[in-house]
């Protein structure tokens, strides 16, 4: 167990590698109840979130969700999150645990008449059930990604969100805190493998989902991070002018994915020759090589560019690859 944002979190149950493979081949469950949940409601809820978040919320019908960014006035990323449109005038924002207070404070300060922001994190538990057999093991029907619905799972009332952080099919189950243990036991009873934070990190890295605090943060912008697709630059939101300018001029550095060409495991903070830096690095349990992401000057950002990473004083060869690093065959 390790402390994380005020929570005691398991790094692993059986082991990072078997847990990782369970999610890629069958189904695994992560207790991600540390994630924050913010509710925004009221006749002007839409105006508040639309002006605070980067993606175009008007694309969402009730029952749909989207990946989006909470940006600061400099175009930096306060948090990355999923916004769920829960009703005509209500939204649920699932934010990172470590940014829960910041995200809440930022929105609360900008609250307008007719919009109410509430932090309901302590009332909610969240279990991510991920893997090619996750939906089948839970006895659920297939549904499009980024949709959600209310359901009962083995007697527990849940919101079934077709979202995740592993690159696999699956869902995230939101329930009341008092039902969490019952839901966890029910999911395990269905043959789903319990997984810790360690596998969650290697899974997201293989598919190049950024981790806030590593790959993105208040000092990095969405365009350089390759998250321009989650920014609607036609609308007004915090920092949009900066993002428009970076887009027009072209970023000076980019968040790229790479694989090691020599035996070595890249780690966060290692310098990349030419002025870059590794922001996330680990061993890929599927590819069985070192993989990572990092910022490099644009001249080094094209796929197939050879990189040299300083692994505790030893220069080791790597190669820029297209995202995602891992993709299921067929």
């Amino acid at each position: 167990m390790v402390p994380f944002a005020g929570w005691e979190m398991p790094v692993q149950y059986e082991g990072v590698i078997p847990e990782h493979r369970a999610v890629r081949t069958d189904a695994g469950v992560f207790d991600v109840s540390h994630m924050g949940e913010l509710e925004v409601e009221g006749p002007r809820a839409r105006d508040l979130v639309q002006s605070a978040l980067s993606n175009d919320l008007d694309k969402l019908e009730p029952g749909q969700a989207q990946y989006t960014l909470l940006t600061n006035d400099e175009g930096g990323i306060i948090d990355d999150l999923i916004a769920y449109r829960t009703g005509e005038h209500s939204y649920l924002l699932v934010v990172n645990a470590s940014n829960r207070a910041n995200a809440y404070a930022w929105l609360k300060e900008r609250e307008i008449a007719g919009s109410d922001v509430r932090d309901v994190s302590d009332d909610c538990a969240l279990l991510a059930v991920q893997g090619p057999h996750a939906i089948e093991r839970l006895g659920l029907s297939p549904a499009p990604p980024f949709t959600f619905a209310e359901a009962f799972l083995d007697g527990v009332e849940v919101m079934v969100n077709r979202t995740g952080y592993t690159g696999e099919d699956g869902c995230e189950l939101l329930c009341m805190t008092e039902d969490a243990v019952r839901l966890w036991d029910a999911v395990l009873e269905r043959g789903v493998v319990p997984c810790g934070l360690g596998a969650r990190d290697t899974l997201r890295l293989e598919v190049c989902y950024p981790l806030h605090g590593n790959d993105i943060g208040p000092d990095t912008d969405a365009i350089s991070a390759g998250l321009g697709w989650a920014c609607s630059l036609e609308k007004e939101f915090a920092g949009v002018d900066v993002l428009r300018r970076i887009k027009a001029e072209g970023p000076t550095r980019r968040l790229i994915a790479f694989v090691m060409e020599e035996k070595a495991i890249p780690r966060q903070g290692m310098p990349i020759e030419g002025g870059g830096e590794v922001t996330s690095g680990s061993h890929s349990p599927m590819l069985e090589i070192g993989i990572g992401m990092g910022y490099v000057p644009v001249a080094q950002a094209k796929a197939e560019t050879e990189l040299t990473i300083d692994v505790r004083g030893r220069p080791r060869g790597a190669r820029v690859v297209k995202k995602p690093i891992y993709k299921r065959e067929g």
Partner: protein
């Protein structure tokens, strides 16, 4: 499959969780079950060059799991005669068989007096129990 916990009687141990199997003026070195278990499944062994020197109580390489990196401390000084290529290619061998197929280095021992100050299995087990 990770091995069950054991600390064979015929080995000598270093406080930093390394073992040595001394045979004449040569020794085979590795890390203990305790070290391998604490790290989790190994995914990389950064080995020294054959012919290089290792020094007692100093790091001669690194072992890495998905989440952690650890120096490997030499229990004895000497010259590297052989690196276990099987562990370089398949580091998880250390978790599966830490005292057998998962050995790391074979060295020529520089000073046999250093062997005498290493722990025996009983003393090493006591050290783990006291932690």
């Amino acid at each position: 499959m990770a091995a069950a916990e054991s600390y064979p009687d015929e080995l000598r141990y270093h406080e930093e969780h390394d073992w040595a199997r001394v045979d004449g003026d040569e020794a085979v070195l590795g890390i203990t079950w305790f070290a391998a278990d604490a790290l989790g499944e190994l995914v990389h062994f950064e080995a020294p060059e054959v012919g290089s020197a290792v020094t007692k109580d100093q790091s001669y390489g690194e072992v890495e799991s998905v989440k952690a990196v650890s120096d490997v401390i030499a229990p004895l000084s000497g010259e590297v005669l052989e690196v276990n290529g099987q562990v370089v290619d398949a580091p998880e061998t250390v978790n599966e068989d830490p005292y057998g197929a998962g050995w790391l280095l074979r060295i020529r021992v520089a000073d046999s007096a250093e062997v005498d100050v290493l722990l025996d299995a009983g003393a090493y087990r006591q050290l783990l129990a006291d932690q």
